[in-house]
Structure formats: structure tokens, C-alpha cells
């Protein structure tokens, strides 16, 4: 067997407690993030078995899925949501887990606050009962979403049992065009692979486009790995990574930092290591993207027309059903289609760079009359930066309001629901039927495309509104 290892091999293999022949690996988990929706039944399981959390110090709880994004200082009005939040707080207290609940200064979306406070580290294994846990792979961690039974396993034993996935490397070479963001790169990849093209694989992203990308951009890309079916995606840590994590609250300090750095610098794919699958794309060919259907694979360059059903891969009936739901026709141009809602936020695009991008377009313009816009920071830290950097002033002047942190309209568990039949240009991650509210119609796009839609009231190529120098 080759001694040349992939980044993924290095991290996975170093966490295997035990390998079961013709079965899964028992994988040790360094960081377990917990939120209110997928944890209560797991805690109930612990109670029924009368066991404790094995490593509360490796477990971090935050409330995000169910929380309101206005008036967070007031009691939560939805009794079911309030109950879930109360349960998480009680469970965290009972088992000695740190809890960043509603109103806590560190509260925010689990995949935004983890990196912000240095909980997310290179070479770590990170799980959470949420499929977008793949976000943390941006740091060279193995991070993936798990189900509630597995949440219970990790609480009980700090391990899960999973077969090792296959490996895939996706290289994107060259330089991105101006107006093309990490979100567009990810939507492009998914449009090429389809929503099942990476199922069974763990992906490493490599090439100039990712080397030149900021940590926030890398998080956006890794976040969307699950949307092509991949368990997760990761990027080898480099100076950009180390610079980002240094001196954050939970990162190692002093001698421990030096020791960790020695290890982290070994985290790359060895020259000649083999992948089960390898794909390469030219980054300069990617356009600002938009989706037109009901899964994230149904995306295309914003200036293109909706493909005809005889040219698509996969089932024609499902494709037609999808367009019917969206009330679009084959061959339609997306540019100029009127929209009703804009959502800036989520674990995909709720970070400060996303708000900077959005502000760069709306600056000096006005929100379109027909548009309802929900701008939801990913965390209190992002919210504070929006204010400190003067972005709030730009947004306010353009007729926008800023809401309080949470998952919000990405999955519409709280009151932020897009009404039936309405169109939303959304920076989130899923355009499934009803995802943003029963009957809602979602167009996934970057913060730039969302901003262009917000000020024009229709699908607009953001490059028409951009200053060259911003890109």
C-alpha cells in the first residue's frame, strides 16, 4: 500500500479508535457542536440509559435554527420553539456543556460561531446534527453532519461509527472573473456534478482559486459540499488559515500553538497520493450563478437560459415537475424575472465579507419597492462588525434593515417565511420546494446577485452595477 496519503487520509486515519472488519470505523470526535433542533431526543436517550456526556469540554451548544431574528430580548412567542430552546439550555446545564443561547454575546449560527471563536481547528474531527457542518472543512478539518442517533453516540462516547468514505479531489485552476464569488464557484461545481455526484465521497478542494480564497470564502465552498451529496469537503490549511485562527479565544496559545502548528503544517495531500476520483475545472469560465429549479444542482450562469429537458441528465419528469413548481419554462431567460424577497444570511453567506459584498452594490442605491429584504447576520460578532465598519449606515440609507442573528429564512423554522408562490433570491443553500416557507420559490445566488436583485426588484447581473475596482 502506498505511504503517500491524502489530506483526508491523514486526518481520518489518526482518529480511528478501532476498525471493524467489513464494518465501520469507530472514529474519535474532537469537537461536537449541538443545536436545539437535533439534540433533544439524543439527550433523552442519555437519560433513558442513565449515562453522562463523556466529554462535555469538547461539546459546544448554541441556539440558532429556531430563534426569532427580531426582538430577541423578548420571550420567544412560539411555544414549541420556546420549549426546544429551554430544553437545550436545561440539557447543557445538566451535562456541563457550554451554551451560547439567545441573548448570549457569542450566540449565532453554529457554523459561523465555531470558526469565529477558534473552536474549529485544522486536523480536527468535527460533527454536528446539521448537514452544513461541512463548513468547518475550510480549515482542513474533517467535518460532517450526523443524525440524532449519532448525536447521542457522540454525547455518550465521543465517537461515531462510519465506514471511511471514498476520496475525490476537485481542482479549480486559474483566476475568477470579477463579480464571481466563492458562492458562484460552489454553485458551479454542484451544477456540474448534480446533487448526487459526490455521494459516498469526501472532497478535497485544490488549485489556485482556493489558495487565493479568504477563509470566509473557503467556508462558503465547503459549506455547500453536502449539496452535491458529499459527506464533506476540505481545504489544506495554509498561511491564510493559520493567520485566521491565531489568537482566537479557543485556539491553542504559546507552546501549545507551536506544537499544534508543527502538526498542522503536515496536513496536505502528499505528492502522488491517489484519489478515487479527480476533477478539474477552469475557474475563469465561471460566471455569477443562479438556480432556477428545486435542487441546488439546477443552477447556471446568470446570463444563460433555462435548459431544455431533452439536454439534461436525469429524469425528465422530475425536471418538469421542478420547473412547474417554480412556474418557469424551459428556455426562459432568468435576467429580468421579477422577484419578491431577498435573503442575505445563513451559514453559507452570513459572514462579514458577504455583508461587505452586498453593501458594495446597494451603496448609493435604494431598495426596490416590491422587495422585502431580510438581512440576517450569522452571529453577534458579524452584527458588531457590520456596525463598526459603517455597513449598517450604507444599508439603512439604502432602505434596508438589519435583523438579529440566526438561521432565519434559510429553513424558515421561525417566522421568517417566504409566502406561497413568491420568489426569493437567497444567499442560503437550498432551493427545495417549500424550504423557505410552504409554497415558496427560491433562487440561490451570491450576495452580489442578491444585492443586485434587491435594488432592481428583478434578477439582474450584478456586474452591471459594480465598480470595477471592487472585484
Amino acid at each position: 500500500m502506498s505511504t503517500r496519503k491524502t489530506l483526508f487520509d491523514k486526518v481520518w486515519d489518526s482518529h480511528v479508535v478501532k476498525h471493524i472488519e467489513n464494518g465501520p470505523d469507530v472514529l474519535f470526535i474532537d469537537r461536537h457542536m449541538v443545536h436545539e433542533v437535533t439534540s433533544p431526543v439524543a439527550f433523552l436517550g442519555l437519560k433513558n440509559r442513565n449515562i453522562r456526556v463523556m466529554h462535555p469540554e469538547k461539546t459546544f451548544a448554541t441556539a440558532d435554527h429556531n430563534t426569532p431574528t427580531i426582538n430577541q430580548h423578548l420571550p420567544v412567542t412560539d411555544p414549541l420553539s420556546a420549549n426546544q430552546l429551554k430544553m437545550l439550555e436545561e440539557n447543557a446545564t445538566e451535562y456541563g456543556i457550554s451554551y451560547w443561547g439567545l441573548g448570549h454575546e457569542k450566540n449565532g449560527i453554529v457554523h459561523v460561531v465555531g470558526p469565529e471563536y477558534g473552536i474549529t481547528l485544522p486536523g480536527a474531527t468535527i460533527v454536528c446534527g446539521d448537514s452544513h457542518t461541512s463548513t468547518h472543512g475550510a480549515f482542513g478539518a474533517i467535518a460532517f453532519g450526523i443524525g440524532t442517533s449519532e448525536v447521542e453516540m457522540v454525547l455518550a462516547s465521543q465517537c461515531i461509527m462510519q465506514p471511511k468514505p471514498k476520496s475525490m479531489r476537485i481542482n479549480i485552476t486559474g483566476e475568477l472573473q470579477y463579480g464571481v464569488t466563492p458562492k458562484d464557484v460552489a454553485l458551479f461545481i454542484i451544477s456540474q456534478l448534480t446533487t448526487s455526484g459526490a455521494t459516498g465521497y469526501f472532497v478535497e478542494y485544490a488549485g489556485d482559486v482556493f489558495s487565493n480564497m479568504t477563509m470566509e470564502g473557503r467556508m462558503t465552498v465547503c459549506n455547500l459540499s453536502i449539496e452535491m451529496g458529499a459527506r464533506g469537503g476540505m481545504i489544506a490549511p495554509d498561511e491564510t488559515t493559520f493567520h485566521y485562527i491565531k489568537d482566537r479565544e479557543f485556539t491553542p496559545k504559546g507552546e501549545a500553538w507551536n506544537k499544534a502548528m508543527d502538526y498542522w503544517q503536515t496536513l496536505y495531500t502528499d505528492e502522488g497520493a491517489e484519489f478515487d476520483k479527480e476533477l478539474t475545472f477552469d475557474g475563469s469560465q465561471i460566471e455569477p450563478m443562479i438556480t432556477y429549479g428545486t435542487n441546488p444542482g439546477m443552477g447556471m450562469g446568470i446570463s444563460n437560459d433555462i435548459p431544455n429537458s431533452d439536454t439534461i441528465q436525469g429524469g425528465v419528469a422530475s425536471y418538469k415537475k421542478s420547473l412547474q413548481y417554480m412556474a418557469f419554462d424551459e428556455g426562459d431567460t432568468m435576467i429580468g424575472k421579477p422577484i419578491d424577497f431577498v435573503f442575505l444570511g445563513s451559514c453559507t453567506n452570513g459572514r462579514i465579507e458577504d455583508f461587505r459584498a452586498f453593501a458594495s452594490i446597494v451603496k448609493g442605491r435604494r431598495k426596490a419597492e416590491n422587495v422585502t429584504a431580510w438581512l440576517v447576520p450569522g452571529s453577534h460578532k458579524v452584527e458588531a462588525a457590520i456596525k463598526d465598519e459603517g455597513i449598517l449606515d450604507i444599508l439603512t440609507e439604502a432602505g434596508f434593515e438589519l435583523r438579529e442573528p440566526g438561521c432565519s429564512a434559510c429553513l424558515a423554522m421561525n417566522d421568517d417565511k417566504v409566502p406561497a408562490g413568491k420568489y426569493a433570491v437567497s444567499t442560503s443553500n437550498r432551493n427545495f420546494e417549500g424550504r423557505q416557507g410552504p409554497g415558496s420559490r427560491t433562487l440561490l445566488a451570491s450576495p452580489l446577485v442578491a444585492a443586485a436583485a434587491a435594488v432592481t426588484g428583478k434578477v439582474t447581473d450584478p456586474r452591471e452595477l459594480m465598480e470595477k475596482e471592487f472585484a
Partner: protein, 198 residues
């Protein structure tokens, strides 16, 4: 939690010949607010099954009394999207014990295995044959045989074998769960944890 043992299932099946059925369709997010694993079956495929006034949509398969059984047959890439185990719970709670497709999303497949619902992956051709045989006769019986790892269309005898790893097979046959296993190797885990100071 421990679950029902799975051995041989002989039953009719409910066909859902749609690709990329995501877990948001299986159970929409607004029904994830419970703190106990109860009653999720009522909201299985909620927005495909009911109108906004809660009246049943007559053309949806679960509302058509001619289809029944403990097997749900879905199109390619079944269970994609959100990791919510509630999707598997809803399928179980409704009364299904087996889901058949030509391709499953990873997390959904794991979630099913962890609660005792058997995901059976068949070839696209065999999946078509299953859909055709149900279309010809909604009462068509199927046998899902876990010990033999086979699925058979009983009316025609057509059969295909499916994969499952030995460990999970053993668990399903006996109703064992992973936590019992993990608790039994707790000392190994404790020892391992010492090498992971992070």
C-alpha cells in the same frame, strides 16, 4: 435506542417515482420542533400530502387507498439534503420498515440504519421493474430478505441482491444499536482520548 429486529419482510409497496426526494419534502422544517420522537408519521410528506387548509391532496400516493405496505419505493438520490433524522423517524412512524431506491443520500441511509429502517439499493433497471410491477398490480408482494440480502418481486420471481456491511446487518437482525457497542469499548476510547489533547 434499541429497535425492532429486521429479518424477512413480505409486503406490498408504495411507489414514489420521483428523483432527488429531499428530506425537506419527507418532513418540512416546521415540524421539527418536537422534543420527543413521537408522531412524526402524521407529517410525512406533509406538503405533498396535504393542501394548506390541511385537506388531503387526492392525487398524492399516500392518499390513494389502493397503495399500501411496509416498503416505500423512491426514485434516484432519495433522502438528499438536510441531516434531520426526523425524516427517517417519519417514515418509520408512518409504518414503513424498508425504503428501496437506486441511490440513497449518505446521511439519510445512515439515519435509517440507525433506527431499524432498511435502505435497499437496487439497480436502476430493477427499480424500474418494481415500479412497473406495482403499476400493473398495486397488491404485488415483495420479499426483502435481510439474511440473504435479496429483494424479490414475488409475482415474477425476479430478484436482486443488495449490499449491507456485516456489522450493520448483524445489528438489524438482532435489534442491537451502536451505542451499546460504543459503551462496551469505552476503555479503549478513554485510552485513545489521551492522545487527542485538543
Amino acid at each position: 435506542m434499541a429497535y425492532d429486529k429486521f429479518n424477512i419482510l413480505k409486503t406490498s409497496a408504495v411507489p414514489l417515482p420521483i428523483e432527488n426526494v429531499d428530506t425537506d419534502q419527507i418532513i418540512p422544517a416546521r415540524f421539527l420542533k418536537a422534543t420527543e420522537r413521537k408522531g412524526f408519521g402524521d407529517n410525512l410528506f406533509r406538503d405533498w400530502r396535504y393542501n394548506s387548509d390541511d385537506s388531503p391532496k387526492q392525487d398524492f400516493i399516500l392518499n390513494n387507498p389502493i397503495y399500501s405496505g411496509k416498503i416505500l419505493v423512491g426514485g434516484k438520490n432519495f433522502g438528499s439534503g438536510s441531516s434531520r433524522e426526523h425524516a427517517a423517524w417519519a417514515i418509520y412512524d408512518y409504518g414503513f420498515r424498508c425504503v428501496v431506491s437506486s441511490f440513497f443520500a449518505d446521511i439519510f441511509r445512515n439515519n435509517c440504519l440507525n433506527i431499524g429502517v432498511l435502505p435497499v439499493q437496487v439497480s436502476p433497471e430493477f427499480l424500474d421493474r418494481i415500479f412497473q410491477s406495482i403499476e400493473a398490480d398495486p397488491n404485488t408482494l415483495f420479499e426483502v430478505n435481510l439474511p440473504d440480502q435479496s429483494i424479490t418481486i414475488l409475482s415474477t420471481g425476479e430478484q436482486e441482491l443488495f449490499d449491507i456491511n456485516d456489522y450493520k446487518k448483524e445489528n438489524l437482525l438482532n435489534g442491537f444499536d451502536d451505542i451499546d457497542y460504543l459503551l462496551n469499548i469505552k476503555e479503549d476510547i478513554r485510552e485513545f482520548a489521551k492522545s487527542r489533547p485538543l
